[in-house]
């Protein structure tokens, strides 16, 4: 699933943009160095193919539903991880711009979840070792399935982490994970099937097309992306772990009563361990976030009726003014 701006905080969005940006820059540099001018039209046309292919559904055997290709893994298999990242980033950009599929701030996160992870984790670490030189169709299918499933699980995990770290949702991490991971297991399987079906056909018809992705494997973009992400999220997660266990406690208590005391401490404990493992800057706090959290905490449970009413009145007034201005401008034209 695509991350949305509405669930993102500027800090998390910014971090993910930096991570994806670093990966794209590294891949871009790599492609420039290779100086293969055939890539220019090729990447664009194959990108257009992925864009179109995402809208073609096939029937999933056994179930009554249908699925379609995502394309990250297929692109990596066809073009190599560097070109694949640039292509999938452009497909995501078109979707964000024209179809509101994921926001512009969230684009960084989406490029990371749906681009960096399949191209630089799933493809080299899972697909290539399993599928080998591509001569056995069984191994190709297996490699595609495993790589797609794991890649999408990682992507889903990414979405969860980014959403929770942003703090806009009240959804606790455990519930969110429980919702996202199984669904993405199914989606990953679908992706694996679709990818394998296409790769196997191409292998039969034009095996030479699958050779182009062999070549030096550089994990630099991956390291760049993760390096930046880790440095900054380490701090963010530590802040989150320090603050939100209270928030989580609150919502969980209120959602299901005190019975959840045990699982709550489990989450809390995990978070603390995570924090210790990741925080390079344990005392780093995102000042804006901290400032945001305080007024929220102070405004509830102390509910101030006067403020509520003023807010309501002011809000209505603002809406009226803004609408008038907007339509007024329009009519003048």
């Amino acid at each position: 699933m695509h991350m949305a701006d509405a669930l993102l905080s500027p800090a998390v969005g910014g971090v993910m943009w930096l991570a994806s940006g670093a990966a794209l820059a590294a891949s871009g540099r790599r492609l420039r160095r290779n100086a293969d001018d055939r890539l220019v039209p090729l990447m664009g046309v194959i990108g257009a193919f992925v864009f179109a292919a995402q809208m073609i559904n096939f029937a999933i055997p056994g179930t009554g539903s249908s699925g379609h290709l995502g394309g990250g893994l297929l692109l990596a298999i066809l073009l190599g991880p560097h070109a694949a990242l640039v292509v999938i980033a452009s497909v995501l950009t078109v979707q964000a711009l024209f179809f509101a599929d994921g926001g512009l701030l969230a684009l960084g996160a989406n490029i990371f979840n749906l681009g960096v992870l399949p191209c630089f984790v799933a493809y080299p670490l899972l697909y290539r070792p399993i599928a080998g030189d591509g001569t056995s169709s069984r191994r190709v299918a297996l490699g595609a399935a495993v790589a797609a499933i794991v890649g999408l699980q990682l992507g889903a995990l990414g979405v969860v982490l980014q959403t929770i770290a942003s703090g806009i949702t009240s959804l606790p991490a455990s519930t969110f994970l429980l919702l996202m991971l199984p669904v993405h297991l199914a989606i990953g399987l679908v992706e694996g099937l679709a990818t394998a079906a296409i790769v196997l056909f191409v292998r039969r018809a034009r095996p030479d097309l699958l050779q182009r992705s062999t070549g030096q494997r550089s994990l630099k973009p991956l390291l760049a992306a993760f390096g930046v992400a880790a440095l900054l999220t380490g701090g963010a997660l530590s802040w989150f772990a320090a603050q939100d266990p209270d928030g989580l406690e609150w919502s969980i208590e209120h959602a299901a009563g005190a019975e959840l005391a045990a699982p709550n401490t489990a989450t809390h404990g995990t978070l603390r361990r995570l924090q210790q493992a990741l925080s390079f800057l344990p005392d780093y706090a995102l000042p804006k976030a901290r400032a945001e959290e305080t007024p929220a905490e102070s405004s509830w449970p102390n509910v101030d009726p006067e403020t509520s009413l003023a807010g309501l009145v002011g809000g209505a007034l603002t809406l009226a003014v803004v609408s008038l201005l907007g339509f007024g401008l329009r009519r003048r034209r």
């Binding site: 905080s9 292509v87 701030l105 969110f176 209120h254 807010g311």
Partner: protein, 268 residues
């Protein structure tokens, strides 16, 4: 009409909107990109319970839609179509966050509903701004602007080519899927047909890419894509950026609706 045809139609309609000469179209695309990003960051920087405080920001997409003569109905339609994910995650807020937050006499509204409304508002604002950006800018100026703002040429050229050939490949894909459907007697597409169908589409894409490359070589292509596109940053572009950013800062710093509300209630 298949999904692909519908999608291509969307692309065409937004581009057609962007191709018109409106006051907004004359603003440098770099300015529009920068301000839109600043807007989105401002919107998401509010805390999760902000509703009224966010409202003054609605002026931005509305004013731009007006200046760019972007019709409201298609925009609203796209917003609704894209809502599901935000809704899906957001709906958990009211379920989990039940502390009362707003009290009007006997009526107590849970904090979760407030944050849910905030999510919806954020969604409308950010997505609305992005759509207006596209409807007023067009793919070519947008990519040129990105290039001038430092995005590597590999990416911007790629984006332009993808956009250019999305129509060609989309039309091919649409024809192929319709042709299959006509012989499918109502059955869905099995993997056994999916592989070859998409495989053929892919192979044709490769061959087309080869032909395009030949066509580029035939006209002297040497690896470097040069452009005639000239962007001239003018005074009004600086004004555009500064004015809007100042407004965003103001809205972020002062909760204007609250102040206005208090003023009104105090006066009453």
């Amino acid at each position: 009409m298949s999904r692909i045809d519908a999608a291509l139609r969307e692309l065409r309609s937004l581009e057609a909107l962007a191709a018109r000469d409106t006051p907004l179209a004359r603003v440098d695309p770099r300015a529009k990109v920068l301000v839109t990003m600043a807007f989105i960051v401002t919107v998401v920087s509010f805390d999760r319970y902000s509703i009224a405080a966010l409202l003054p920001l609605a002026l931005f997409p509305m004013a731009l839609a007006a200046l760019g003569d972007v019709p409201a109905a298609p925009l609203a339609r796209k917003l609704l179509a894209a809502a599901p994910f935000a809704l899906f995650v957001g709906i958990f807020n009211p379920l989990l966050d039940r502390a009362p937050m707003l009290v009007y006499g006997d009526l107590a509204i849970a904090a979760g509903w407030v944050s849910f409304a905030s999510i919806l508002l954020r969604f409308a604002l950010t997505v609305g701004a992005a759509l207006v950006l596209v409807a007023a800018t067009g793919m070519h100026p947008l990519c040129a602007a990105l290039g001038r703002l430092g995005v590597p040429q590999v990416f911007t050229v790629q984006l332009l080519f993808l956009f250019r050939y999305a129509f060609v490949l989309g039309a091919e894909a649409s024809r192929m899927t319709v042709a299959r459907e006509l012989r499918s007697c109502g059955r869905g597409m099995a993997l056994a047909a999916y592989g070859p169908l998409l495989g053929h589409l892919l192979l044709r894409a490769f061959e087309r890419a080869q032909r395009i490359h030949l066509a580029m070589l035939a006209r002297g292509f040497d690896g470097e894509l040069r452009s005639l596109w000239a962007m001239r940053w003018q005074g009004r572009d600086t004004l555009f950026v500064l004015a809007w950013c100042a407004y965003f800062v103001l809205v972020r710093a002062i909760d204007m609706p609250l102040a206005a509300g208090r003023l009104l209630l105090g006066a009453a």
